[in-house]
């Protein structure tokens, strides 16, 4: 039973504070109360749990789970293990929840060549595969905007373009995802500090802490954040079992999610999935603190464009021209 730990804790407290005889009485009370709450919780669940739900049912353990930044290593171990077990029971998939930490002396940056990008959107597909986004309703982190040559007016762009082949004549393509700003408007507005900027520059969300108020979505000028309006549906065989607690683990309904530069990959020395998938070589990723890294060289030698630079968000995502 999931609230075992809490019952045990209470037992211990009781033992310390009351005598042995009273303890037995108190224990009966506590057990009765715990059973009572469980019965009520089960009844409520019956009403509010949809048919064939993949949501993890209510438990006190989950309800009182701490904020990520306040978890001790033991807390983390226990929580990650519980999430793994829950995913196995609710979705029938064995996953591995990791928590790679920021690397000292590393700050990630993305550089994207607008000269090379041809709007094939293979990055979008790879991103969805890697990051376990919901297939229905569809959630994608990367939006590619098709724009008319000779203009940079986003309002005239088209992010739902279709057609046989790309690039279309007279068009260029602007992929937009989370810019991992150094002055992020989204983290500032969060009323519960469920989203913050990590040391390596990545803006993350604790999905188990987010209350789903969507203030961050209103604040983000890059439309980088997505909301889980319902339980994310994704076929069992499409689930990527290699999951990070702060990145691509399967999200519950009612919380906000976003691109994390694939931190479960990049903090372990791999490239983000979108870069791996890009056939044009338009995407470059690396450590901006290392003067010899490819991104540092691009920022030094190429013409760089920063989207909505006037808003003072100071993105870690740069567009450049070859």
């Amino acid at each position: 039973m999931s609230n075992d730990r809490w019952t045990k804790k209470l037992k211990k407290k009781m033992e310390q504070s009351v005598g042995r005889r009273n303890f037995l009485k108190a224990l009966t009370g506590v057990t009765a109360a715990a059973c009572g709450t469980t019965v009520v919780a089960k009844a409520v669940e019956k009403v509010i749990q949809p048919e064939n739900s993949t949501e993890v049912p209510f438990s006190f353990e989950k309800f009182f789970q701490k904020h990520y930044q306040e978890m001790s290593p033991e807390d983390k171990k226990r929580v990650f293990q519980r999430i793994e077990e829950d995913t196995l029971t609710s979705r029938g998939v064995k996953v591995n929840i990791k928590d790679p930490l920021p690397i000292e002396g590393v700050k990630f940056a993305f550089a994207l060549s607008l000269s090379k990008c041809n709007g094939n959107r293979m990055c979008v597909e790879a991103c969805v595969k890697e990051n376990n986004q919901s297939h229905d309703p569809e959630i994608q982190y990367i939006k590619v905007i098709e724009m008319d040559a000779g203009s940079f007016n986003l309002e005239k762009g088209d992010m739902y373009y279709e057609g046989e082949s790309v690039p279309k004549p007279g068009k260029f393509y602007l992929p937009v995802q989370c810019h991992q700003c150094d002055n992020p408007p989204c983290t500032k507005v969060c009323p519960v500090e469920a989203t913050w900027k990590e040391k390596d520059g990545i803006v993350v969300i604790d999905y188990d802490w987010c209350i789903g108020c969507r203030f961050c979505m209103a604040a983000c000028p890059y439309e980088a954040r997505r909301f889980n309006f319902t339980e994310p549906k994704l076929p069992k065989e499409n689930i990527n079992p290699n999951q990070g607690y702060l990145s691509n683990r399967i999200r519950p309904k009612g919380v906000v999610e976003k691109c994390t530069f694939c931190l479960h990959r990049t903090r372990e020395g791999l490239n983000p999935a979108c870069l791996e998938a890009c056939p044009t070589g338009a995407r470059k990723f690396g450590n901006i603190l290392d003067p010899n890294s490819e991104v540092s060289q691009i920022l030094k030698t190429k013409r760089v464009y920063i989207l909505k630079e006037d808003l003072g968000t100071v993105p870690s995502f740069f567009y450049y021209f070859d």
Partner: protein, 405 residues
């Protein structure tokens, strides 16, 4: 302790046991709406916010629009508190408690509207001190939670204390309430200012990112609030023992006469700046007033709102003989101005902020049936709460409920 328990029992008894037919019909109707609202909300809890018509593009809608409007209603109580305690108007003093109870009910509705907007309402514990982490100092929403709850407590304590003293037949100790009354005057302004800052502090949404927003909010609250109070006092005068003096009505009419045109003036300033500059930032306003690329869902609403505002102003300013009664046409003007402001600063302010999106996407929004019923449920709950509170308060004030030793 015992006296206090009896006091509550008496109030409860008075609220529930009654022969008044209109009160019963009104209460039963509201209860029915509340039940419908609860059912609708259960659907939302069950399936998530997908049952609403919100989207990633338009991520706030009817709930937040109603929330914004109601913060204004709550703030408007200051229009009775100020004349009572600063200008020492005795006629207003008789009804100030009703105003404070209206503020209390409005704040309760505000909190409910925020709660139903959350994807994880049970995680409100993440805001509580001790366990939670309230993003105090940097998040305007955290500030808003604080000021709204503070205002709730103020408007619970002040009328609560005064009514109990009246019931006991004791003279209230001014140190127990007067400092808080003055605090509540500033506090009323703060709740609406902070609510405006929720929107005006966002650089990525040019439609909201304007310094005029907080003043506009206050002015519209001071136009719509008195209109609502005027209707409430008319009902009170007709159905209860509390005979609200004509002076109160005249004062409220005067306030509306000032603030209703001023609200239009501020809107006009906004419209001028947007359209004359004619930069890319005008798109949201264009969408609201004229439609954008063939999308014009809000256009009829905003023009209806403007028309209602104009008609109300005309009625309020129309020269008429001073008569004792408040004519029906004034009540009509009140309803029209409330509707006008509700549309203008509810949906008319929230939705265009999302249209077009920062990347130029254009997705329209109109509330779903579930959203409609949840809103109706919360409004009904607030109305029922206020009706009961006001009824009991009037009974205590007029001596129908008192401590008999």
């Amino acid at each position: 302790m015992k006296t206090y328990a009896i006091y509550w029992l008496k109030m409860l008894n008075y609220a529930l046991v009654t022969k008044s037919k209109p009160y019963k019909i009104w209460g039963a109707t509201l209860l029915l709406f509340i039940v419908l609202g609860v059912f609708a909300y259960i659907q939302q809890i069950k399936y998530g916010l997908i049952v609403t018509n919100l989207s990633d593009q338009v991520s706030w809608g009817a709930y937040i629009a109603n929330f914004t409007f109601l913060v204004g209603v709550a703030a408007a109580a200051v229009l009775l508190v100020f004349p009572t305690y600063v200008l020492h108007r005795d006629d207003v003093k008789e009804v100030v408690l009703i105003g404070e109870l209206m503020a209390f009910s409005a704040v309760v509705m505000c909190i409910l509207f925020v709660l139903v907007d959350l994807g994880h309402p049970e995680r409100f514990i993440h805001m509580l001190p001790g366990f939670g982490r309230l993003g105090f100092s940097h998040s305007v929403l955290a500030w808003d939670v604080l000021v709204l709850n503070g205002y709730l407590l103020l408007n619970m304590h002040i009328p609560g204390y005064l009514l109990y003293m009246k019931y006991m037949g004791r003279r209230p100790n001014m140190w127990f309430y007067l400092p808080l009354v003055f605090l509540s005057i500033f506090w009323a302004v703060s709740i609406h200012t902070v609510t405006a800052f929720l929107y005006s502090g966002l650089g990525g949404r040019p439609y909201w990112n304007t310094a005029i927003l907080a003043p506009r909010f206050l002015v519209s609250a001071f136009a719509g609030g008195p209109a609502l109070l005027l209707i409430v006092f008319t009902v009170v005068r007709k159905f209860t023992a509390l005979k609200v003096k004509q002076g109160v009505f005249d004062m409220l009419k005067g306030i509306i006469k000032i603030f209703l045109p001023m609200n239009l003036f501020l809107l006009g300033c906004e419209v001028f700046t947007e359209f004359y500059t004619n930069s890319n930032h005008v798109e949201s306003a264009k969408y609201l007033f004229f439609g954008l690329h063939g999308h014009k869902l809000l256009v009829p609403y905003i023009w209806t709102s403007l028309t209602f505002s104009m008609i109300s102003i005309a009625i309020f300013y129309w020269p008429r003989k001073k008569s004792e009664e408040t004519p029906g046409i004034i009540l009509f003007a009140c309803v029209a101005s409330i509707l006008a402001i509700w549309v203008e600063k509810g949906m008319g302010l929230i939705i265009p902020g999302f249209i077009p999106t920062p990347l130029g996407d254009l997705v329209e929004y109109t509330p779903s049936l579930i959203e409609f019923f949840v809103c109706l449920g919360i409004w009904s709950f607030g109305a029922l709460l206020f009706t009961i509170l006001a009824r009991v308060a009037i009974a205590i004030q007029t001596g129908a409920i008192k401590n008999e030793v």
